[in-house]
Amino acid sequence: MNTLPQQLANGLFLGSMYGLIAIGYTMVYGIVQLINFAHGEIFMTGGFGALTVYLYVLPNGTSMWIALPAMLIGGGLVSVLIAVGAERFAYRPLRGAPRLAPLITAIGLSLALQQAVFNWYPDAKTDINFPQIDGGPWHLGSISISSGSLFVIIAAPICMAALALFVSLSRTGRAMQATAQDPDTAQLMGIDTNRIIVIAFAIGGFFAAVAAVAYGLRYGSVKYDMGFQMGLKAFTAAVLGGIGNIYGAMIGGLVLGLAETMATSYIDGIPGMQQLGGGGWASVWAFVLLILVLLFRPQGLVGERVADRA
């Protein structure tokens, strides 16, 4: 049996999830040059927001066809509120301060959010079950797709297309591009840059919530510390694609997901590499890839002006 198509699909599902989270890193960086290290936790709270809607808002046994959109809205709402709140209360007061200050705030915020969920969300000290879509696995040629993976493979392209259209066609989208290029001049041209920054945080938050719902459906549970590893990977994806570039974030996510999957399945088959392959080494190879890209193409795979602003 040829496993390559299945492994490519696995990489695609995983990568789409990374890509969705990476959007949040890349948009915020593109506009305010801030690496929002609390974004992984914004992703996590989105998952808990969606779960809250299912457990405490909807009546028991609601069909997933109704529950899922409601959960997306609920999770999105929580993530957006936290992202915007973080911008307003943790980052905006520090705008203009040395770079290190907001970075440390971001790390503090990330710990605070994680511990808040850990301490105050009922039963959040271990995995909490996430509602599942029944059915599957579906087969497409030699590829089998589980119901959880189906969600991400449908949601990610829709989100991306909507974002691309928004950024290139709408007035606000064009204002975002202008702000990203030069915030001071954009402001002189009559663009309310504060509003643009809030919108960037909100979009990043909503996409993170979509990714969190995808995570819950795919892995069956959510956990207070799930944002750490996913956030780190998504940040890597954003840098890989070229931080600041929204298409780069998606492509970086896919490349990273594929790299991990390929590393798990093929590296230990190479003679002399048995010790360095398999599932335990997937993350190592993902980061090796990152280092290689940064060495030979520091602007990332797709590229964004980083050198002149950083």
Partner: protein
């Protein structure tokens, strides 16, 4: 502007730091009204939060009930026992730091725990230096009692360390025997989490399974904390294995089995007692049906001697899963309490009490709620009972109990 941002920065950092420390400490408030009696503390070390905490809380609960019983029955006249539970978060370094703290408290005369073998390796030396007795209800790594070269020449590294659980050497072999002879499986894919417990168990299963005549179709490793196993699942499917053996804890295996079955591989996952918790079934849901584990001892629910314990546990509203180790923790705590009873008379603690208690524990012999309790020359339990459990209709069901001698 600068000052204001500094204020915000500090406050955010402090909030973060405060929440962090808040979850590290456990309330150790007990009533200090009974002033006449000597207070003796039984320490507990287990993961009470985070990974493995469902099982870890069961250890704390088991000890709590043993101590409550001892206080109620006045088992040791003139002494009030108290439980002091430390959270090791399943992290070896945290366990070592907890051990240091317990050793320094003179009132602590015995410790139950830890849950994880990997944590135990970092705690043994600390307890040994202070002559403080430690009984683990769940450690199964053979080298803890029989030394690094246990397969060739056994030698006990620490005389203060005991356990009421039997070792992986028996558990891995027992599982291999069941897989080959009862389930009639012939090709197995072996996965482990590279930890002391998981890797050791997987190695012993592999040895037993190939010795019986089975074939290893493939091997792989995962990291603790991993969530995506889709690539691994594809590898397993492609290997045409008819069974997956997993050496590790429920945190990863419950996700692995879900992804395995969602990926269309209809083969059971077989693991050790690290997977034996209701959480495994809750998280994996229907996909866990038919999965198997081995666990030490006999199911506590099936033992008439434990009926009273289970009733008390349920009535107390204690959290966690008593089923796996609660009973063994009760017995471990009872062994310590009995030993203390032989050393402490009328509430007077002799100067070298800790060393005397270690000697008393070594001589222990009584019928515990989970079976006879006594220790051999290595500190291992003499009770070599093992049980295979299978998920049937969403519940762990004991399918075979027995002893295994390699």
């Amino acid at each position: 502007m600068r000052q204001r941002s500094l204020v915000i920065l500090t406050s955010v950092l402090t909030t973060g730091a405060l929440t962090l420390t808040a979850c590290g400490s456990r309330d150790d408030s007990g009533d200090s009204k009974s002033s006449k009696k000597t207070e003796i503390i039984i320490g507990v070390d287990a993961p009470l939060t985070g990974q493995n905490s469902a099982t870890g809380l069961g250890i704390q609960g088991g000890v709590q009930i043993a101590v409550d019983d001892a206080n109620k029955n006045n088992t040791v006249p003139g002494v009030t026992f108290k439980v002091e539970a430390h959270d090791d978060k399943a992290i070896p370094a945290q366990g070592q730091s907890n051990a240091t703290g317990l050793v320094q408290n003179e009132k602590v005369l015995g410790v139950v725990g830890p849950l994880n073998s990997g944590v135990a390796t970092q705690m043994q030396q600390v307890f040994a230096t202070a002559n403080l007795v430690e009984i683990s209800p769940s450690n199964t790594a053979p080298e803890l009692t029989q030394g690094k070269n246990w397969q060739t020449s056994k030698s006990r590294p620490f005389k203060t360390y005991f356990r009421t659980a039997t070792t992986d050497a028996l558990q891995g072999g027992f599982a291999a025997d069941y897989a080959y002879n009862t389930l009639k499986k012939r090709k197995v894919f072996v996965v482990d989490d590279k930890q002391t417990y998981g890797a050791g168990l997987a190695k012993l299963f592999k040895a037993g399974f190939t010795k019986a005549g089975g074939k290893v179709a493939g091997e792989d490793h995962v990291n603790t904390g991993d969530t995506d196993f889709s690539a691994l699942v594809t590898k397993i499917k492609n290997s045409k294995a008819d069974l997956v053996y997993y050496g590790g804890q429920y945190d990863e295996s419950e996700k692995l089995t879900k992804q395995l079955k969602d990926g269309g591989a209809k083969i059971p996952l077989f693991g050790g007692d690290g997977m034996f918790t209701p959480t495994y079934i809750e998280t994996a849901g229907k996909t866990s049906e038919g999965d198997l584990v081995t666990s030490v001892g006999q199911p506590v629910d099936s033992l008439p001697s434990a009926a009273d314990f289970i009733k008390k546990y349920k009535a107390s509203g204690l959290k966690g899963d008593y089923g796996t180790y609660g009973g063994y923790s009760y017995d471990a705590a009872t062994a310590i309490i009995k030993a203390i009873g032989n050393v402490v008379k009328d509430g007077k603690i002799p100067t070298d009490a800790r060393a005397k208690i270690v000697a008393e524990v070594q001589k222990t012999k009584f019928d515990g709620i989970a079976g006879p309790v006594s220790f051999d020359e290595y500190g291992d339990t003499t009770n070599k009972q093992l049980t295979v459990y299978q998920v049937v209709d969403g519940k762990w069901k004991a399918v075979k109990s027995g002893t295994f001698n390699g």
